[in-house]
């Protein structure tokens, strides 16, 4: 960083029609695809779980509000315990897969 300037100050730059834009280099492209594939897969799985809770509550209340442990119902257990752990587990798997990819890139 220059003394009085920072790297993110405005610098004029042209634009180009997307059809004239050269393709991304293969390495960056591959990294982005790997990252996106992992991220989207985990997110789709996560959102299926997330939206299954209101579906369960509103359309299958007999299952959702069935007590399983004292007064704790199926949906209470999933919403306030399982899904709290799930937020961490999904992020943990993502971080581990990322570190594995990082090690592979470093090795390559």
């Amino acid at each position: 960083m220059a003394d009085n300037k920072n790297d993110y100050d405005y610098v004029a730059h042209g634009t180009v029609d997307f059809k004239d834009l050269p393709p991304l280099d293969s390495e960056t492209n591959e990294i982005m695809h790997d990252e996106l594939r992992t991220g989207v897969s985990l997110t789709v799985f996560y959102f299926i779980m997330i939206f299954s809770i209101p579906v369960l509550n509103w359309y299958f209340p007999a299952i959702a509000f069935k007590p399983i442990w004292g007064g704790m119902t199926v949906t209470w257990f999933i919403t306030s315990i399982v899904m709290m752990a799930m937020a961490f587990i999904i992020a943990y798997i993502h971080t581990k897969l990322y570190e594995k990819r990082l090690a592979k890139y470093d090795h390559d």
């Binding site: 180009v16 029609d17 050269p22 937020a87 971080t95």
Partner: protein
């Protein structure tokens, strides 16, 4: 003299003293990097704790248990929705954002599109979201001061703003981060002590939920404080069911979308990822913050249930019963702490509540000061600004924000804290979330698309929040995420596809934020 020796006063003064000391130690901010991003020097543990401190605001610390106490299962569902966002942020944004490594959220747009207009639009959105978020935090602070120290609402707002101006203005991001990390552990410590005390008292989760579910009828000991003078009625089966707060399936889905996607667009959370030394540390920070937040939400819901069980038993002191009836949701955690552990646990909870307010507000102040000083002043007014002048401009911005946020705080005296925060999440989900996700992963996004996304997302959010009746009844939502989030995403995509003029260096940008070898910038 008596009040000065009460545990709540001793612990609150101790917290204030610690903040002053840390702020004093962190006062050396020679460059803009020091002031706005703490010299990018924080490891994953400190930054993860600070992200947790930033995210788990007073609305969370007091509000989640309060909502569970009041709404039962629907309150627990609210907490669950808040728990989703950090995970999505960790997956799609945390690492690339750190590799990009700027000073402010608006830098991302300014740099990605080489556009002053996009930067200006981002500044407006940052200030809007931060205003939405800061007002309820100030409201919470003033309520806590009023409830426990007997001060007026206006005094509470002014006092908190003065503390914030000092705290953030002198300490900058360094002082703010260390204070936030410390304050997080005070809150978590208070919750863990409450958990231990509840377990020791035999208030096991399964047992108390069973007792609540089986309860139907009047609650003993509530008549002296009820408006009609008779004991309050309670239906345990309805409380453990759904539909209390969000009466339809689609209202529930709309809230889920708004809250789940809002975190990715919260400027004060995004900014925290610039303070790590590397992208790897940024991802680990996010993971740590998710772990903390998950434990925190789990405990908050449980403590809300404990509060309800104590209330139904009717065996707590008159003071606790009175506070639970007339004190509103924000009194559930303090009253439960008092019932479980007496004055010292109550004192720790009050100190924790202040820690939550300070932690969250400091994040909002530092983020908005960056938007005013770095993005507005340095980019549009004084373009040959020196590093020292940037820091001074940041401090002046904090003073201006103190006055602005103070004014907002005075305006929302009767508003609901939890609802205002949820609306801030919706605005963020409809503006910055599409911009960051698409800006990081989609090369076809154009400057016009970004500006359209911000302007339309903000406009539609504001319209549906303040004037929901413009929509037909079946499209009116308490949290309108189901409409505003798709509108935000579609605005960016449609305008970008029509415009087609992408920045000529977009491939370099993608390489910078994704390619290997750019782990530390």
């Amino acid at each position: 003299m008596g009040m000065l020796l009460e545990p709540k006063m001793i612990l609150t003064v101790f917290l204030m003293g610690t903040i002053v000391y840390i702020t004093y130690l962190s006062k050396k901010n020679a460059t803009a990097s020091d002031f706005f991003v703490g010299g990018r020097s924080f490891g994953w543990f400190t930054n993860g704790s600070a992200i947790g401190g930033d995210y788990l605001s007073a609305a969370t610390f007091l509000g989640i248990a309060g909502l569970t106490f009041q709404l039962g299962y629907d309150g627990a569902y609210y907490a669950f929705c808040f728990s989703i966002g950090l995970t999505l942020l960790a997956i799609f944004v945390a690492g690339p954002l750190r590799r990009f490594g700027a000073f402010t959220v608006a830098d991302f747009l300014g740099y990605r599109f080489h556009s002053r207009r996009a930067r200006l639009a981002a500044v407006v959105v940052v200030l809007s979201i931060s205003g939405f978020y800061a007002a309820p935090q100030l409201l919470g602070a003033a309520q806590i001061l009023s409830m426990f120290f007997g001060t007026s609402y206006e005094f509470g707002i002014i006092f908190t703003c003065i503390v914030m101006i000092f705290y953030v203005g002198i300490g900058g991001m360094k002082g703010t981060t260390i204070n936030q990390a410390l304050e997080l552990w005070i809150r978590l410590g208070a919750f863990v002590l409450m958990l231990i005390a509840a377990m020791y008292s035999g208030l096991h989760y399964d047992k108390i939920l069973y007792a609540i579910n089986s309860f139907s009828g009047p609650i003993t000991g509530t008549s002296p404080y009820a408006l009609d003078g008779s004991n309050i009625q309670f239906d345990g089966e309805a409380w453990t069911g759904t539909g209390f707060y969000f009466p339809t399936f689609w209202q529930t889905i709309s809230m889920t979308i708004g809250l789940a996607l809002g975190t990715i667009g919260l400027p004060h959370i995004l900014l925290r990822f610039y303070t790590n030394p590397s992208a790897k540390a940024a991802r680990k920070s996010a993971l740590m913050a998710i772990g903390i937040a998950s434990v925190f939400f789990l405990l908050a819901v449980y403590l809300g249930v404990v509060g309800r069980a104590i209330f139904l038993a009717g065996t707590a002191s008159e003071e606790v019963m009175r506070d639970l009836v007339i004190g509103g949701n924000n009194m559930v955690i303090p009253s439960t702490a008092q019932a479980l552990g007496g004055e010292w646990l109550l004192g720790l909870v009050i100190a924790g509540a202040f820690a939550a307010v300070f932690s969250n507000l400091s994040g909002l102040f530092i983020t908005s000061s960056g938007a005013l000083a770095h993005d507005l002043y340095a980019e549009f007014i004084k373009k040959d600004i020196t590093q020292r002048e940037r820091v001074i401009a940041g401090k002046v911005a904090i003073l201006i924000l103190g006055v602005l946020y103070g004014g907002l705080g005075l305006l929302v005296k009767d508003a609901s804290i939890g609802h205002l925060v949820a609306l801030a999440f919706t605005v963020a989900a409809s503006t910055f979330t599409p911009i960051f996700i698409l800006g990081i992963w989609w090369r076809r996004m154009t400057e016009k698309g970004a500006i359209a996304g911000l302007v339309i997302g903000l406009g539609v959010s504001m319209l549906l929040i303040f004037f929901p009746s413009v929509m037909p009844e079946f499209l009116q939502f308490k949290i309108p995420g189901i409409i505003t989030v798709p509108v935000g995403f579609l605005s960016v995509i449609i305008v970008s596809l029509l415009d087609r003029q992408v920045p000529a260096d977009v491939n370099d940008f993608m390489k910078k934020v994704h390619a290997k070898g750019s782990e530390t910038v």
